[in-house]
């Protein structure tokens, strides 16, 4: 089976700092891959390069067999690659529902010509999109918050909204940057179930996360990143059993 997302020989350097040093990585359908490593290892930078926020220096990024490393960020999203952000980044002037409504892979309201000349078709599509938005909110149990504004919600709920927003894309590949940080209680379990069921829908999911028990529970495979390089892969317990990696992660000398 060809992987959904395949990264080969990816390299990126900011001045003297190498944030991605010959990164090779493949994520298959139905797979949840964890990406761990100490602060500054280049995990978020890897997401930024793969999603198209920052340009790469060398290497390839292939989504469903198609090279995407030269495409713009929005073009990659339209091919089914979505991401969330470590610091959430909801749109504060839109309601929770509208945050989701502007998020599908094709948003008909984006074209002013269509808005002007085929308002009828637009209305039908809007109805479908609104329905889908409610479905995503249902998944993260936030239907009640639909009409509220992001800043009125707790940090954890904002995180959940941002994941629901990313799910609006219905893409094959999902990059989640610290989805669980700040999420507690019932929302924690809800989020775990959402990610698991989304993977079962045939998506390839990559998670950057510091919460080790969350990664252990959820991820089929865990990659350990350090100084822009993927040092090792395995299950969480295998990685943590290795003193050298644990030492790098927790900063203690071994």
């Amino acid at each position: 089976m060809t992987p959904v997302l395949e990264i080969a020989g990816l390299r990126k350097q900011f001045g003297g700092i190498v944030v991605a040093n010959d990164v090779n990585l493949a994520i298959k359908k139905d797979e949840v891959v964890g990406l761990i490593g100490p602060n500054g290892a280049g995990k978020t930078s890897l997401f930024n390069i793969v999603s198209g926020l920052i340009p790469h220096d060398a290497g390839t990024v292939i989504l469903n067999g198609q090279p995407i490393e030269r495409l713009s960020m929005h073009a990659r999203a339209r091919l089914g690659l979505t991401r969330t952000w470590q610091n959430i980044r909801l749109f504060p002037s839109l309601s929770v529902l509208d945050n989701l409504i502007v998020a599908p892979r094709y948003y008909p309201g984006e074209s002013i010509l269509r808005a002007a000349f085929s308002p009828g078709r637009l209305r039908d599509q809007r109805k479908k999109i609104t329905e889908r938005a409610y479905n995503q909110l249902e998944k993260v149990r936030l239907v009640d918050a639909a009409t509220r504004f992001p800043t009125e919600l707790s940090y954890g709920k904002q995180k959940l909204v941002s994941i629901a927003r990313a799910l609006m894309n219905d893409g094959d590949c999902l990059l989640l940057d610290e989805p669980i940080a700040g999420v507690e209680g019932a929302a924690y379990e809800a989020l775990k179930n959402v990610i698991r069921s989304e993977a079962k829908l045939g998506r390839a999911i990559c998670i950057v996360e510091h919460n080790i028990s969350f990664v252990r529970d959820l991820c089929d495979r865990v990659l350990f990143m350090f100084n822009g390089k993927i040092l090792n892969s395995g299950t969480m317990d295998e990685l943590m059993a290795r003193d050298d990696l644990a030492g790098l992660y927790f900063g203690s000398e071994t």
Binding site: T44, S45, M73, N87, S93, I112
Partner: protein, 309 residues
């Protein structure tokens, strides 16, 4: 009568300019200050094409709208790749550059400007003056309605999201660059329309009328009225057109009137910046959800959480 009419016409034209500039600056968040150059391009295109090619005035005004639109794309295609503060400089350079070209060409009338422009209505009689006022008011109302239509509904949601967080917006698959070019083009075309209406009533245009001073004037109208509100620019344009006129009715000596108007403008900007930065009709902006920095290298992350081992 004619004096009052020209004040009303100027008010109407500045409503068009302020409302369309508000679409660019207030709603789309594009920091361009070159709005008067599109006003000027509309005025020059319309009056010169009527003069040299003897096309009907209406056709000239339409041509002015098209040329303003095309020039806006010439600016936005390269300039919108950069954003924020740099766009201010790029747009200023564009404005001064185009003005310099106009000043130095023969067929544009050079620095002296264009005289003898064909009026839209043949005879300057009482009825034609009144109908011009009516025409400009309808045009102003139409512009405000157009902006209102653009910024509400599905397209308006996209605009708000783009202004809030452009990168997050792009990451969802939205083509922000196209949207910005379209919005910039629409706003500039409106300014071109106002230019045509201006030229064929006042019948004289010169490069000085489209200089940076007018960028500041339109900017003041939008800021004082309320950036990012539908009626704010209308309030701002009326206020800043009426106040200097009211001052001139006080029959002060010219040596006092001139500087007083300058002080009034500057004072208004300062007062509003300090006391009511969102303008007469503006609401307080929503709080940001983040500090805009998400790089692993730069931010301080939460330390590893070890639990339930």
């Amino acid at each position: 009568m004619e004096y009052a009419a020209s004040i009303f016409i100027l008010i109407g034209l500045f409503v068009i300019l302020a409302a369309s500039f508000n679409l660019i600056l207030g709603y789309s968040g594009l920091m361009s200050i070159a709005h008067p150059i599109f006003f000027g391009l509309g005025a020059y295109t319309s009056s010169l094409s009527v003069m040299y090619f003897h096309i009907p005035v209406i056709a000239g005004i339409l041509l002015g709208i098209i040329v303003a639109f095309l020039f806006s794309i010439a600016l936005s295609l390269p300039a919108l790749r950069i954003s924020g503060d740099y766009l201010v400089i790029a747009s200023m350079g564009f404005q001064l550059g185009v003005l310099q070209i106009i000043r130095n060409l023969d067929w544009t009338g050079g620095a002296g400007g264009v005289t003898g422009i064909t009026p839209l209505f043949d005879e300057i009689a009482r009825t034609s003056v009144l109908s011009y006022v009516a025409l400009v008011f309808v045009a102003a109302a139409a512009t405000v309605a157009l902006v209102a239509w653009i910024v509400t509904g599905d397209y308006g949601k996209a605009i708000a999201a783009m202004r809030d967080d452009e990168d997050a917006f792009k990451a969802l698959g939205r083509n922000a660059v196209t949207m910005k070019i379209v919005l910039f083009g629409i706003g500039s075309a409106c300014a071109g329309f106002a230019g045509g209406l201006y030229a064929h009533y006042f019948l004289f245009i010169s490069p000085d009328q489209f200089d940076l001073l007018y960028s500041a004037g339109i900017l003041t109208m939008v800021v004082v009225g309320g950036m990012g509100t539908i009626m704010g620019p209308v309030v701002g344009a009326v206020l800043l057109q009426v106040m200097p006129q009211a001052l001139s009715f006080l029959r002060l000596p010219a040596a006092i009137t001139g500087p007083t108007q300058g002080i009034m403008f500057t004072g208004l900007v300062l007062i509003f910046l300090f006391l009511k930065p969102n303008g007469v009709l503006g609401k307080a902006p929503p709080r940001k959800t983040d500090d805009g920095d998400d790089d692993d290298l730069a931010s301080v992350n939460t330390s590893p959480v070890v639990g339930k081992r």
